[in-house]
């Protein structure tokens, strides 16, 4: 460094990080026990749902009316349901849809929330006031009411569910992103960038967004857990993913009818799978929160 300075007679102004931009966060993340717990849990569930069916070749919709509501046995490791269908294969195939729709819905709400939050936080006072009024309004309506209503009107499908949850669940994201932008936009590097003639869009995308990445990644992770839960809840209420393809929420709804027969093998497998998936994602979210050192608290 000093040799370089002597040679060129100039101070090297580049504060080029020897490691990548997020190297330190990555390091904390790798060392966090919750990262590994979360990854293991999620790996287990994903493996079960996506790698399970090719290995365990039993059709999830094969009806066998001679063997209905059978407890776990060698032929059916998790028993059979009210139509004699194999619970394990329904669990695996149903998980695919539950996880995919939850993930896609969370990403949709994330994209909407980020765009909205950026626009509100950096779009000027007037836009901010109006846009946040809309968010206040959405906060006053329980999201489930809105979803129940719209789903009862349209024929539910996986794609529709993704769009609907995306449109209902974006507002917490937008609030967090906006709050982050409000504090970031006062930083000197933003001022410098504006002084250098950068357009508002460039400032927003090049400076504000990358610096809000911690908030965004953490919110996104918790958002996935919430969306998976929401999809399951709607399907449980009969207004989510349509039959006959199995999904965890609908499986649990069916299990309620067979509680008097004590068909516990219908109650526990989908619930445990759902719980492992959600706990694992929450573990990852907490590890990420510490890695990015955001003082983000979850909305309850």
């Amino acid at each position: 460094m000093s040799a370089e300075r002597a040679a060129t007679g100039r101070v090297a102004l580049r504060a080029a990080p020897a490691e990548g931009r997020y190297a330190r966060n990555w390091k904390t993340l790798r060392r966090h026990p919750l990262t590994w717990a979360g990854a293991a849990g999620l790996g287990f569930i994903a493996g079960l749902c996506f790698l399970g069916p090719p290995v365990y070749q039993t059709a999830p919709t094969a009806v066998d009316i001679l063997h209905t509501l059978r407890p776990p046995s060698a032929a059916h490791p998790l028993g059979t349901d009210e139509l004699g269908r194999d619970v394990l294969s329904r669990l695996m195939v149903g998980g695919q849809l539950s996880l995919e729709v939850g993930f896609a819905a969370a990403m949709t709400s994330l994209v909407i929330g980020i765009a909205y939050g950026l626009a509100a936080g950096y779009g000027g006072r007037w836009a901010d006031t109006v846009m946040m009024r809309v968010v206040d309004l959405l906060r006053a309506v329980p999201g489930l009411f809105l979803l129940l209503f719209v789903n009862s009107v349209f024929k539910p499908s996986a794609a529709l569910l993704v769009v609907l949850i995306g449109f209902v669940a974006w507002h917490p994201v937008s609030r967090l992103v906006r709050a982050e932008v409000l504090s970031l936009r006062e930083r000197t590097y933003v001022e410098a960038s504006v002084a250098a003639g950068a357009s508002r869009l460039r400032v927003a995308l090049r400076h504000l967004l990358p610096n809000a990445v911690g908030t965004i990644v953490v919110t996104a992770t918790f958002g996935i857990a919430d969306a998976v839960l929401l999809v399951a809840a709607l399907s449980f209420l009969g207004l989510g993913l349509p039959p006959p393809a199995p999904n965890w929420g609908a499986m649990l709804a069916t299990s309620m009818s067979y509680l008097p027969q004590n068909a516990w093998w219908l109650v526990y497998p989908p619930g445990v799978a759902l719980l492992i998936a959600i706990v694992s994602v929450n573990f990852l979210g907490d590890a990420l929160r510490e890695a990015f050192d955001t003082r983000l608290r979850r909305d309850l």
Binding site: V153, A253, V279
Partner: protein, 317 residues
């Protein structure tokens, strides 16, 4: 205080108006009106038109909205299409049941959350602290309907200790208060277990934060007793954010009530909404959305008032 209430009421008015307008438009632009839901297979264009005319659904949307709003402001929520009752009566019957459920759950949940949170904060890193933290984490991620199903399967079907659902015994014409209370146990327990997780986590962390403050050391040096120190000095300060949190979590509690009322077949606002959504009973749906919106706004206002009462440093002007 009066000024705060008035100011918040003025602020809330446009929000609530917008809420009524948007939900009205949303409900009416979606395809498949109540006529098709009522008629089912027998729907012919003539019959649908006849019903739509009778219900006033053939008028322009703006006109329909103003008529509905005018009635609403006079306390008339309209007549439910499918229940043969006014919406107001339906709400008056169902709302107290949901409020009983939610308010009881909030109260019990708070007592437990505060006790658990304070214990954990004062016994940090003890084995019980770790066990409780783990338990709370799992409860926090627990799907509410699954928890409800498990409780029903154990306490209603396996042991037969408690009823599986409903609000009273169907054969009981004049149910006693005790019979009603017994029916509340499982739904309330489900809601408590779900909310206690988040709140106790919150109490724990804000108590830990409060306990390292200078004023705690000062009080300790003055010889304040341990119990008084915890309750009067530390907890009172740790409590503040909890109040706001409850106000903010009202919509989520209502959402939770929908699921729990369905699991336990508990006839409150959630079950009413779910039924009405199935039959597209617009006046009922709108009435519930308006009531829940108003309750949320009121809940937040109440939280602000309590906040000012708990923390004299806060001055509303």
């Amino acid at each position: 205080m009066t000024r705060l209430v008035l100011r918040r009421a003025v602020e809330a008015t446009p929000t609530l108006l917008l809420l009524t307008f948007l939900s009205f438009v949303l409900i009416h632009i979606v395809p498949g009106g109540p006529a098709t839901a009522m008629l089912g297979d027998q729907a012919t264009p003539e019959l649908v038109a006849q019903i739509n005319h009778a219900l006033g659904l053939d008028k322009p949307l703006g006109v329909q909205y103003l008529i509905w709003l005018g009635h609403l402001l006079r306390g008339d929520f309209g007549y439910a299409y499918t229940y043969h009752e006014t919406v107001l009566r339906l709400i008056i019957t169902n709302l107290p049941r949901t409020l009983t459920l939610v308010v009881t759950a909030i109260a019990i949940s708070h007592l437990i959350a505060i006790a658990v949170g304070i214990y954990q904060a004062t016994h940090r890193n003890s084995w019980l602290d770790h066990v409780l933290t783990g338990a709370v984490y799992f409860l926090y991620s627990m799907p509410s309907f699954w928890l409800g199903i498990i409780l029903v399967s154990i306490f209603a079907y396996k042991t037969g200790w408690l009823p599986a659902g409903g609000i009273t015994n169907p054969t009981d014409a004049h149910p006693s208060l005790g019979a009603r209370a017994v029916h509340l146990v499982l739904p309330v327990a489900t809601l408590v277990l779900l909310t206690v997780a988040g709140w106790s986590r919150y109490v724990r962390s804000s108590m830990i934060e409060a306990l390292v403050q200078d004023y705690i050391r000062t009080a300790e040096a003055k010889g304040v007793s341990r119990g008084r120190l915890l309750v009067r000095h530390a907890f009172k300060n740790a409590l503040l954010p909890l109040i706001t949190l409850v106000g903010l979590s009202l919509p989520i509690l209502f959402s939770g009530a929908v699921i729990i009322e369905t699991v336990f077949n508990y006839p409150g606002m959630g079950l009413l909404f779910w039924d009405a959504a199935g039959s597209r009973d617009y006046p009922v749906l709108l009435g519930i959305v308006v009531i829940v919106g108003v309750l949320t706004v009121l809940g937040n206002l109440l939280a602000d008032v309590l906040y000012g009462w708990a923390d004299p440093r806060i001055q509303y002007d």
